[in-house]
């Protein structure tokens, strides 16, 4: 039960990095469009080896354009207090905080406190919760700190999150936590591109496969198992690409751990025998990371800042915007933290070591996975099995029953009906997870290229490319809230939303309709409990984030369902969660793949009194 924080280790070390000369003039500017990442001459701030820390009742954050070195190359970034990531904001549960954000950019900016329960005017989404922070002004965010755990913050303006405006938030709990560790490290994973993100999006709009250099080709046909050709034909017939695991890939991205490239190798130095708490944050714009520390089991203690019943695992997939806290007990002098991009096009890497210069072997990246027919919602045999395994066929209540018009309004009520035949206790608070949603005739229009015929829960699947390595991989189905929830109000309404997209034109949306300014809000009434059913019609995973409130992700555990602010919805998955509408205001609700959000996968949820 005892622990001592390693704060002394972390504070007072906000010194600016040394000036480093990256040397080498280059005349490749003209080629820059085709060949990204040409180094230019300059004297640059080297990246910090440690996250800087800010704390106290009043915190100043200064947003500016900064030239700095990323992976040893000159880059122009938008930064908070001069570095990438921004400083770790260290708060204490129960305190009041004032965060003064000054904007030295020549465009508006904003900061959103991801996962924090704040008044709506402090949530920091331009056009939804406040007007934004104009150039040369300072905005004061003030709010009481009502929670504890690992969170993060980022710009919600344009592509500023991609170009560097993000950082960690750690909130110390009021009551001591029941964890035993001697030192902690915050580990911010992110993706960096030397391209202008506007161009990245434009490239994707012109050609959805622009950054995919891992397609199926004639040359790699031989590497695939027998039957691959038939499989290729069925994907081609659907005009879908089984290698479309990520839109923006290592072809343009450098993956960073606490701002450092794999070669720069972020290091966390500990004393032999110490137990460590690692606070993982996926602050990427568009990259899912599969994280493991080869040889070290990890005990998961918190997810999205919320305590869970500890569960041991060897690897976890961290969706964009999720956080996960784990405890590890290093056995050797050095261990590699290995975070592979989901499509295996690159990785971030760091080292935990007792000696600041030690390194551990870096594993090779696994081959890029292929989507399966199940990711298209076409796995009939499997579906059949699910149907039989599930209770009573026929009229599974929460399956796709509402009419297209209801669906498109996105907010009309629908009776919450439970899967029949299930254990009554479970039915009262959790759904039957075997429910198979069959899609009706509505294809959601030209903005949606694919419709999963059937969608089902995949919370017990680790996700594409995981689970075949002979080690444990965390799944949502393993998460249990540490303290049972007390909200026993019945769920009165279900809102079903389909995640939709058209990869050919890079359009992303809910229910086939891209967000636009005059789109009606999804309205919740204060105090009601609403079940959201998300059905992913696309072949891509989407990390869906609700601002302002935690939701109870339905893993079939009733009052132990974990609280989350972001949920990864796998391809052809039907996910559901329950929200208690207890925070009045307008809250953004969107896919946290930055480019998907910009392309229209965004809505506003409004809680009205």
């Amino acid at each position: 039960m005892s622990r001592s924080h390693d704060n002394h280790d972390r504070r007072g070390l906000t010194r600016r990095g040394f000036l480093a000369n990256t040397g080498r003039a280059t005349a490749a500017v003209l080629l820059g469009r085709f060949v990204t990442g040409c180094a230019t001459t300059g004297v640059l701030a080297a990246p910090r080896r440690r996250l800087s820390v800010v704390d106290g009742r009043t915190i100043d954050l200064h947003i500016a354009e900064t030239r700095l070195a990323v992976a040893g190359q000159s880059a122009v970034a938008t930064t908070i207090n001069g570095g990438i990531p921004g400083p770790e904001i260290r708060l204490r549960e129960g305190q009041d905080v004032t965060l003064r954000v000054s904007n030295a950019l020549d465009e508006d900016t904003s900061i959103h406190w991801h996962g924090l329960l704040v008044p709506p005017g402090m949530d920091g989404v331009p056009g939804v919760s406040f007007p934004g922070i104009p150039p040369a002004t300072t905005f004061e965010y003030r709010f009481p700190v009502r929670q504890s755990g690992t969170y993060w913050y980022h710009s919600h303006s344009g592509f500023q999150e991609q170009t560097g405006i993000y950082g960690p938030i750690v909130i110390e709990p009021r009551e001591p936590e029941p964890y035993n560790y001697q030192r902690e490290f915050t580990i911010v994973l992110s993706d960096w591109t030397f391209e202008n993100p506007h161009r990245v999006l434009a490239n994707l709009k012109r050609y959805g496969g622009y950054y995919n250099f891992q397609r199926r080709t004639l040359a790699n046909l031989a590497d695939e198992p027998p039957g691959a050709l038939a499989n290729r034909f069925s994907w081609a017939r659907m005009r879908m690409d089984a290698t479309d695991i990520a839109d923006v890939t290592g072809a343009t991205y450098t993956f960073l751990m606490n701002g450092l490239s794999p070669d720069e190798n972020w290091r966390g130095v500990f004393e032999p025998g110490e137990r460590l708490r690692l606070r993982f944050i996926n602050a990427s714009a568009a990259t899912y990371f599969d994280v493991r520390i080869p040889g070290l089991p990890m005990q998961v203690i918190q997810a999205d800042g919320m305590p869970v019943v500890p569960v041991e695992t060897d690897e976890f997939r961290l969706a964009i915007a999720e956080t996960l806290d784990v405890l590890v007990e290093p056995t050797g002098a050095a261990h590699t933290i290995f975070a592979e991009a989901m499509d295996r096009s690159g990785h971030a890497r760091g080292t935990l070591a007792t000696d600041p210069h030690a390194t551990a072997p870096v594993p090779g990246r696994r081959p890029r996975p292929l989507l399966t027919m199940a990711d298209m919602g076409m796995d009939h045999s499997n579906m059949q099995g699910m149907d039989n395994g599930g209770a009573a066929g026929g009229d599974h209540g929460p399956a796709h029953q509402n009419t297209p018009s209801e669906e498109h309004s996105g907010m009309s009520g629908m009776d919450h009906s439970h899967a029949s035949g299930m254990d009554e206790m479970a039915a009262a608070c959790s759904e039957n997870l075997d429910v198979v949603a069959r899609h009706d005739g509505d294809g959601h229009g030209a903005g949606n290229a694919m419709v999963a015929e059937t969608a089902r829960s995949r919370i017990s699947e680790p996700g594409v490319g995981l689970g075949q390595d002979g080690w444990r991989v965390l799944t949502y189905s393993q998460l249990r809230r540490a303290t049972p929830g007390e909200d026993s109000q019945p769920v009165t309404r279900t809102i079903e939303l389909h995640l939709t997209g058209n990869m050919e034109r890079y359009m992303w949306s809910f229910d086939g309709e891209q967000y636009h300014r005059d789109m009606p809000d999804i309205v919740l009434h204060y105090g009601e409990r609403v079940r959201f059913v998300l059905i992913n019609d696309t072949m891509m995973a989407h990390p869906i984030h609700l601002h302002g409130m935690f939701f109870e992700l339905d893993v079939g555990a009733c009052e132990r369902n974990p609280l989350k602010h972001t949920v990864n919805v796998q391809p052809a998955e039907r996910t559901s969660f329950v929200v208690t509408a207890q925070e009045v205001g307008r809250w953004a609700f969107h896919c946290h793949i930055l480019y998907h959000m910009e392309a229209g996968m965004f809505r506003v949820v409004e809680v009205r009194v």
Partner: protein, 273 residues
């Protein structure tokens, strides 16, 4: 684009048999210059529109300009330089398309080409409907320049199995009706080495001798180009293209002293921005 323009071009099958009358005379180089002008204009639009990215919640605006083919042909006759380019401007649902293609002989001062200006609307996940105008032009040194205009109705999109398909119906200002179907495919041999087979056929209802068009099935054009993507946007290629005329179209060609069949090697550049 203000261009008077050309004829159902089939790569390598360029011939304009009987040119009568004393029409406008546009020297080939003037025609080439105006084509270049059209590209330049598109280019300017491209760069001018570059910063016009929308904020979230506002309709996006984008642009795309591609030379699918810009190539030199090796045959035993006129070694033509040919181009096939498209550009679009607009959002996800509505776009303006410009399609410019043509061919200039490098041995004789002879040019022919066409340009289409189209409004395009996304009507299904993989398909857009296009409507607009097309102008054709044939110019040769010392001869009158022939031009005609058309209304265009077409669709463009992706058929199952990833075939890019572009069928269109044309109605000329004189009421001649013709139909064209194009299909292309990107066959990835490696991540950057890409074979690009193409197919085109033209069918006309009426005979239009000035443009070498016979009634019925006109011709088939097959191409196979092998390109290497140095970058996504930039791929030099080599290949072959073969054009075979049929029926009355073949007769018109032969009457003009040409063969009904034309095979040539090509070398060129595919690029976009």
């Amino acid at each position: 684009m203000g261009l008077p323009l050309s004829h159902p071009l089939s790569h390598g099958g360029r011939h304009v048999p009987c040119r009568g009358g004393a029409g406008m005379r546009l020297p080939p180089h003037a025609f080439l210059a105006s084509t270049a002008g059209a590209w330049l204009l598109a280019l300017v639009c491209t760069f001018w529109s570059a910063p016009a990215f929308a904020q979230m919640g506002e309709p996006p605006f984008n642009h795309f300009m591609q030379f699918e083919e810009l190539e030199y042909g090796f045959n035993d006759r006129d070694n033509p330089l040919s181009w096939d380019s498209t550009a679009w401007f607009g959002g996800d649902w509505n776009r303006v398309w410009l399609k410019v293609e043509g061919e200039a002989a490098t041995v004789d001062p002879e040019v022919e080409g066409e340009a289409q200006l189209l409004y395009s609307r996304l009507i299904a996940p993989f398909w857009e409907f296009q409507v607009g105008v097309r102008g054709d032009l044939v110019a040769a040194e010392g001869q009158s320049t022939e031009g005609r205009g058309h209304l265009v109705f077409g669709v463009e999109g992706l058929a199952p199995y990833w075939f890019e398909v572009e069928p269109a119906v044309f109605i000329s200002h004189r009421g001649d009706v013709s139909f064209r179907l194009r299909a292309t495919y990107d066959l990835y041999i490696t991540q950057r080495l890409i074979a690009h087979p193409s197919f085109e056929t033209n069918i006309a209802v009426q005979t239009v001798p000035e443009f070498g068009v016979g009634a019925g099935f006109n011709d088939i054009d097959l191409g196979l180009r092998l390109g290497y993507q140095i970058a996504r946007e930039f791929a030099p290629y080599i290949g072959v293209s073969w054009n075979q005329a049929f029926a009355e179209t073949a007769d018109l060609r032969r009457a003009a002293g040409r063969t009904a069949s034309d095979l040539q090697g090509v070398a060129g550049l595919r690029f976009w921005f």
